[in-house]
């Protein structure tokens, strides 16, 4: 057996970077038992923690980059270890040293794009509002009721632009007074923060906050649970306190208050996937279900892994930008679970989830077995 000695300097570095809660671990192994990685390959959060405790972390390795920050293990950890925060601490160290293993290399391009253009997709800042072309979407001005913050993916990605457009359409139907900031907004920074680039996150956040303040924004509507999470839980620590609402919550509010009339039928069976950052991280479980169940014609089916037990799509924690081997994609399992319910449509409410699920769907031999839709897209068909 190989002999190792605790590396005190590294322990201190890990702890200073936010890994102090590793100390609490009593090695019960529950984090490994619940981790989605162990459904596709072998991965040990317990070992990552243990290595952190003794300063034996392999900073240059792939393992510290695996965690999708899905939130399952911290939710179940009996000792109160914050695996996400502590895991990000390890990535901070790697980022500071500029060490990225092969699968993580794309992060460099992403960072450059975020710095330069305010989005991770290498798209021009100027084109950020292009998705709204042809729709009656106004620029946000002081006094507008709601800022719709579309997220980078719905702003630029071909598939996800449909989501942004559907959202604008539905909001329009409901007579909501909303606007967008277009090029004056940046990526929210949630995911780059999880890769350990605290500086970049802060920079993006400050710019956003400045923009929000300049425009007198009071209420932000978001499509992405990641934007939701950071605006709601992380920006306040930087000094911003705005009302943040996720589209699934807002849709339910509009329907419940009668502002949005569901006119048509959606005669299909639907299953709903809880995005990690909406469900587990922020406890929004019922509103999206309420919205879907309120649509006439919908047959609502649940997958076995649901609500707090939802299976991550694999896109959180910056993984959306990293390489994941073909046979290690959680989204493949998730789409399979959805297909097994017998549902015709897999609905969710997160741009990352949509991206991964569409990918998994297309890679299936029976790629027409199921449709992937964002919740607003479903609603846009019936209002």
């Amino acid at each position: 057996m190989e002999s190792v000695a605790p590396y005190k300097e590294i322990v201190e570095l890990v702890e200073q970077s936010g890994g102090e809660s590793f100390r609490l671990c009593y090695q019960c192994g529950l984090c490994d038992a619940v981790c989605p990685w162990n459904r596709v390959t072998s991965f040990s959060m317990r070992r990552i923690i243990r290595e952190g405790v003794f300063g034996l972390t392999e900073i240059e390795g792939e393992e510290i980059w695996r965690c999708t920050t899905c939130g399952t293990c911290p939710q179940r950890c009996p000792r109160g270890v914050n695996q996400i925060e502590a895991g990000v601490a390890l990535r901070k160290i790697a980022t500071d040293y500029g060490i990225f293993p092969a699968s993580v290399k794309p992060i460099r391009t992403v960072s450059a794009s975020l710095v330069g253009e305010g989005n991770p997709l290498n798209q021009e800042r100027a084109n950020r509002a292009n998705w709204a072309q042809g729709l009656a979407v106004k620029s946000y001005q002081e006094g507008t009721e709601i800022l719709y913050f579309a997220c980078c993916y719905p702003s630029y990605d071909a598939r996800l632009k449909k989501v942004a457009r559907a959202t604008a359409t539905v909001l329009g139907k409901a007579g909501v007074d909303f606007g967008i900031l277009g090029p004056k907004e940046n990526c929210c920074g949630e995911s780059i923060r999880k890769t350990g680039d605290e500086q970049l996150f802060k920079r993006l956040a400050r710019e956003n906050m400045k923009s929000f303040i300049e425009h007198g924004v009071r209420k932000i509507l978001v499509s992405s649970p990641h934007c939701y999470h950071t605006f709601k839980n992380e920006y306040p620590n930087l000094g911003m306190n705005l009302q943040v609402v996720h589209i699934s919550q807002y849709l339910w509010e509009l329907i419940r208050d009668g502002r949005l009339q569901v006119k048509g039928e959606f005669p299909k069976s639907i299953t709903y996937h809880d995005p990690c950052y909406l469900g587990r991280h922020n406890n929004v479980f019922e509103e999206p279900r309420d919205v879907l169940k309120s649509i006439p014609g919908v047959e609502f089916l649940e997958m076995p892994d649901q609500r707090e037990g939802s299976l991550c799509c694999g896109g959180g924690g910056g993984r959306i930008w990293m390489e994941t081997a073909r046979n290690e994609r959680f989204s493949d399992l998730r789409v399979q679970q959805a297909v097994e319910t017998g549902a015709q449509v897999l609905v969710t409410s997160c741009p990352y989830c949509i991206t991964n699920f569409e990918d998994s769907r297309l890679n299936r031999p029976d790629s027409d077995a199921i449709e992937i839709k964002e919740i607003t897209e479903v609603l846009a068909e019936v209002v």
């Binding site: 057996m1 190989e2 002999s3 190792v4 000695a5 605790p6 005190k8 100390r23 609490l24 671990c25 009593y26 090695q27 019960c28 192994g29 529950l30 490994d32 038992a33 619940v34 981790c35 162990n38 072998s42 040990s44 317990r46 070992r47 243990r50 290595e51 405790v53 003794f54 034996l56 179940r76 950890c77 009996p78 000792r79 109160g80 076995p304």
Partner: protein, 1044 residues
């Protein structure tokens, strides 16, 4: 007089004189024990229980660890003792509403809930239950099986009367009332309303027990969603012969016998998640092992997996129990917490994911999963705290004083049992006796004022009567009835000569059965009674008392054991078992015809006590006895009081040990009734319960001390390690040495940069096969202290299982939070320690594998602290011989019964407390010290004691004075006596335990044991042989072969 009229009388007394000395709240084993001790020690007690019967959680259990005694069998005699006790009044289905007043003078308002059944009229015949149309989940069976809206709480319930629950059609919709129609005794009363009763008491003992973790926590493990996931409490009922499946292990989905089972440890315990307990529930590891052993008893092929994170076998004999479980075939202990991910849709097997060190995460299916659920404060604890004006601790249990864990924050209100925090049965019994002692201190002037004595009717002279034998055959629920054909045994008994009556009974030990026996004795003029049931060890006193109440000499009773000796050992041979049961009954009948009435002896009790050992336990015990007005002789072998505590300084509970000790010694020295003997050694001990004479040498003087009771509190010692360079390198210390140096603020300790602590040094090994219980917490305590003094110090604790049971788990987590690192090692690769030089610095290299890293960790430290075993005091064996008491295999003193007599010795009048019993923490030793004092008082408060009639006697004409009997008697009960015919053996009937060993040694048959005389035993044997010959005869005839 029967039990029911007894109860009636008591109830009458309650309405006129609603005064008692003590109110005990909670009728579980702790409350029951407190009542029995106080009642026996001359106090009148009210026992209030909110459920319809006394018994508490212990009544729900199938067996108890680590002896696997039948829980009901050892507890139910106590129910009956309580219900028959002249100084105890039981009020079930009753809650406490208000308390006012002050110690010595409390006024308590009780609320008696309506049972809708007249307790004093109902005979418990259960006809109403049969006719009741409403089936409801049975609360006693954890809602697994059904009962009726009117039912008796459980078969052995005290009081054995029905109650009507809220599902009753009449109560809900004013319909039905069938029960009223069918009740021949007109016991149903729907007009009952909640009734307020005001009582006056001098003190209160709170013993409300615990509840299991909340459902929210269970749901995380699929409970409620997956049919084959059950709680451990439900599983207890499933295991039990009176349970929902009559003792067969079945699972809910298909009622099949599960083959592959899993237990999940720490459900709701050791977790900081919302709804969970941060503490360890202290009992689950061992009760899980018990359930596994019992499961294997039910089905030898069963495969059992236990998922855990540390096995906490910290109690006496627990380590052996753990090994016994581990060695069974098909048993796996897996060190991993688990996730219940769902079920197999076809087989309904439960899918579990767990992690392994070598092979990563695995998923496996189990037919059935048992959740080893943790303990929470009792339901309504907050309300209780408000009513009694006491404070709760941060976990919602009763806040206690660490220096006296029986004390609540309000004077005159004491706490015992699991309301103190999670504890097992013996500790609940100990604290009950302890609470009794503290009530005795408070109320000592009232002792005996309200108490009454039990009165028996005059005994019938049956010397001129022919034997008329009554035989009562017990089903013992299904324990016997499932194997033995009870009705055919009854029929057979009726065919035997002199049998005037025979009948079957579901539980002969239930109070209605006892009443039936007493009534039958009178109606049919029986003069011999046989109960064919379980063991006389637990139940003989009960039935003898029944005979006394029916006016028959109690030695006309005989017990035929058809359970331990028959149904349990022949469970698979039903026909043969039935035949054997008949043999046993026939033999018992033959014996009973020869029985003689015997008289019991009454002897005066010397009111003084001797306490051996002047440590915390001994001093605490001595003080509590003295505070109750008895003189105490306190012996200490050293020249100073204090014992091992003189070397201790602080505890996790926050006791300043030296300060505590100083106060204690002061109180002891100042107490006029305590006589301290320092530098004392015991030269000899003569006598017997109530009348001991001990000769003591102290400071050059020899003195004879006469006393009625003795308490052994001689403590334990720290093992002197031979491992890990101890004694060779001054940097290797024991835990106590480290503690002393910390207390002295020694520079080499405070200045150390890194320290390794190695657990289990000198125990949990072949030589000492037990866990020293205190060392995990001791190391954590030292680590926290060191971190407090020098936050930069690196501390590594090398452990096998962290056994920080109970609230100490919080300190374990706190230590981790402060940066103490815990490294688990396994006995097959023990840590290594060697002196080395590193970067010019002399260090100690400590290495051991880490199973998560899969690598060997090498630590360079300045100090190594060894958690050295706690070992029995060197004097243990000598004392055991002097006081004729037993030791366990590990060399600690052995109590009379691990569960229910935890501070008594088998030898009457001798008691036990502190680490002489087993390693324990200071609060536990204090609790036990009060417990021993409480037990001592049950003896010393008597003016006389009773000695058994079944003792040996010498036929002097036959005695040749050889002394063989004297040398073999382990109780020293036989001595020579000079007679005109020479030296003859003479038995002291008080010391004689009636074991009969001398009978076998006597060459002339001069010494004999009354109640087991030759003719009585021969009658029994002959009755067996004659039948054997007869059947051999018949067999010969049947096969037609000729004889010789």
């Amino acid at each position: 007089m029967d039990i029911r009229s007894d109860t009636l009388k008591l109830l009458e007394r309650l309405s006129t004189a609603n005064c008692a000395d003590v109110l005990v709240v909670g009728g579980g084993i702790s409350g029951i024990q407190a009542c029995l001790d106080l009642g026996t020690a001359g106090f009148k007690v009210f026992l209030v229980e909110e459920s319809p019967a006394i018994g508490g959680h212990m009544a729900l259990l199938d067996k108890t660890f680590p002896t696997n005694d039948c829980s009901m069998c050892i507890e139910s005699p106590k129910f009956i003792e309580c219900s028959r006790h002249q100084n105890i009044e039981i009020m079930t289905y009753t809650e406490v509403e208000r308390l006012e007043g002050e110690p010595g003078d409390f006024k308590v308002t009780l609320l008696k809930k309506p049972r809708y059944v007249l307790e004093d009229v109902c005979t418990g015949c259960t006809t109403c239950v049969e006719y009741c149309p409403v089936k409801v989940p049975d609360p006693f069976n954890q809602d697994i099986s059904k009962n009726k809206a009117i039912h008796i709480y459980f078969s052995q319930a005290i009081p054995l009367v029905t109650y009507i629950d809220e599902n009753c059609l009449y109560l809900k919709e004013k319909k039905c009332r069938i029960c009223q129609t069918v009740c021949k005794n007109k016991a149903i009363d729907f007009t009952q309303k909640p009734e307020r009763v005001e009582v006056k008491v001098g003190a209160v003992i709170l013993a409300p027990g615990y509840k299991i973790v909340d459902r929210q926590m269970l749901e995380r493990y699929g409970y409620g969603r997956l049919q084959n996931v059950v709680t451990s409490l439900e599983y207890e009922r499933i295991l039990c012969s009176t349970g929902p499946y009559e003792g067969e292990i079945r699972r809910a989905s298909d009622l099949k016998h599960p083959r592959k089972l899993a237990w999940i440890h720490c459900v709701g315990s050791r977790t900081v998640l919302p709804g969970g307990n941060s503490y360890c529930s202290a009992v689950c590891c061992t009760y899980t092992q018990k359930q596994v052993i019992l499961t294997k008893d039910h089905d030898a092929e069963a495969q059992c997996t236990i998922f855990h994170n540390d096995i906490r076998s910290y109690g006496k004999d627990f380590e052996r129990f753990y090994q016994r479980t581990e060695r069974l075939p098909g048993i796996r202990f897996v060190r991993s917490y688990v996730s219940v991910v769902g079920e197999n849709p076809e087989t309904k097997a439960v899918r579990i994911r767990y992690s392994t060190f070598e092979e990563g995460v695995k998923e496996e299916e189990f037919d059935m999963v048992v959740l080893s659920v943790g303990l929470r404060p009792p339901a309504g604890a907050e309300e209780l705290a408000k009513i009694f004006g006491i404070e709760l601790n941060e976990h919602g249990f009763c806040k206690t004083n660490p220096g006296n864990p029986i004390e609540t924050t309000r004077p005159g209100i004491y706490v015992s049992g699991a309301f103190q925090g999670p504890v097992d049965i013996p500790e609940s019994v100990v604290s009950a006796s302890g609470a009794g002692s503290q009530c005795g201190e408070l109320l000592r002037r009232r002792r005996g004022k309200l108490a009454t004595e039990r009165v028996y009717p005059a005994e019938r002279d049956v010397s001129q009567e022919e034997p008329r034998v009554g035989v009562f055959v017990c089903h013992c629920g299904a324990n016997i009835g499932r194997v033995v054909d009870v009705p055919s045994v009854v029929e057979y008994a009726l065919s035997l000569p002199h049998v005037a009556h025979a009948q079957e009974q579901l539980f002969s030990c239930s109070s209605d059965s006892a009443k039936a026996i007493a009534d039958t004795i009178q109606e049919k003029g029986l003069n011999r009674v046989i109960v064919a049931a379980c063991t006389p060890r637990t139940h003989e006193p009960l039935f003898r008392d029944t005979l006394r109440m029916a006016g028959i000499n109690q030695y006309f009773f005989d017990m035929a054991n058809i359970r331990e000796h028959c149904s349990w050992v022949h469970s698979r041979e039903k026909e043969e078992a039935t035949e054997k049961a008949k043999d046993i009954v026939r033999m018992s009948v033959a014996r009973s015809r020869m029985l003689e009435p015997l008289e019991e002896f009454y002897l005066p009790v010397d009111k003084r006590a001797l306490v051996v050992g002047g440590g915390i336990a001994g001093m605490t015990c001595a003080l509590s006895i003295a505070e109750q007005g008895h003189e105490v002789y306190l012996l200490e072998k050293e020249d100073e009081l204090g014992g091992i505590a003189r070397r201790l300084h602080y505890t996790l509970e926050g006791i300043d040990v030296q300060n505590h000790l100083r106060h204690l010694i002061e109180k002891v020295n100042r107490h006029p009734l305590i006589h301290v003997f320092l530098g004392a050694s015991i030269l000899g001990c003569k006598g017997y319960v109530g009348n001991f004479t001990t000769s003591v040498r102290s400071q050059g003087r020899v003195q004879e001390i006469r006393h009625g009771a003795a308490v052994i509190a001689t403590g334990a010692e720290e093992y002197e390690p031979t491992e890990y360079l101890y004694g060779q390198d001054p940097r290797v210390l024991t835990n106590i040495e480290l503690e002393e140096l910390i207390a002295k603020r020694e520079e080499r300790i405070l200045g150390a940069q890194s320290i390794a602590m190695i657990q289990c040094v000198g125990c949990r090994n072949q030589e000492r096969n037990y866990c020293s219980r205190i060392c995990c917490s001791h190391s954590v305590k030292n680590a926290l202290k060191l971190k407090e003094l020098n936050p930069a110090v690196d501390i590594y604790v090398l452990f096998r299982d962290m056994r920080t049971y109970g609230f100490r788990e919080d300190s374990y987590r706190e230590a981790a939070e402060k940066g103490v690192r815990f490294i688990r090692y396994e006995p097959q690769s023990m840590p290594e320690v060697e002196a080395a030089t590193e970067e010019g610095r002399s260090v100690l290299k400590v290495s051991c594998p880490d199973y998560v890293l899969g690598k060997k960790l090498e630590l360079s430290v300045d100090l190594v602290a060894l958690a050295a075993a706690v070992i029995p005091s060197a004097k243990t064996r000598e004392l055991a011989q002097l006081f004729k008491v037993n030791m366990n295999p590990d060399g600690f003193f052995q109590e009379a019964h691990v569960k229910l007599r935890p501070v008594d010795f088998g030898a009457d009048g001798v008691y036990l407390c502190g680490t002489a019993h087993y390693p324990k923490h200071i609060p536990e030793a204090v609790s036990q010290a009060y417990g021993a004092a409480g037990r001592v008082l049950t003896l010393l408060s008597q003016d006389r004691i009773v000695a058994s009639g079944s003792v040996c006697e010498v036929n002097e004409q036959r005695c040749v004075g050889c002394g063989a009997c004297i040398s073999c008697c382990t109780y020293g009960a036989i001595d020579f006596r000079e007679t005109p015919q020479g030296r003859k053996a003479a038995v002291n009937p008080v010391l004689c335990k009636g074991d009969g060993l001398c009978n076998t040694k006597c060459p002339t048959g001069a010494i004999f044991l009354k109640h087991y005389k030759d003719e009585q035993v021969y009658a029994q044997i002959e009755s067996f042989l004659s039948e054997l010959e007869q059947s051999a005869e018949e067999a010969k005839k049947a096969t037609g072969t000729g004889g010789h």
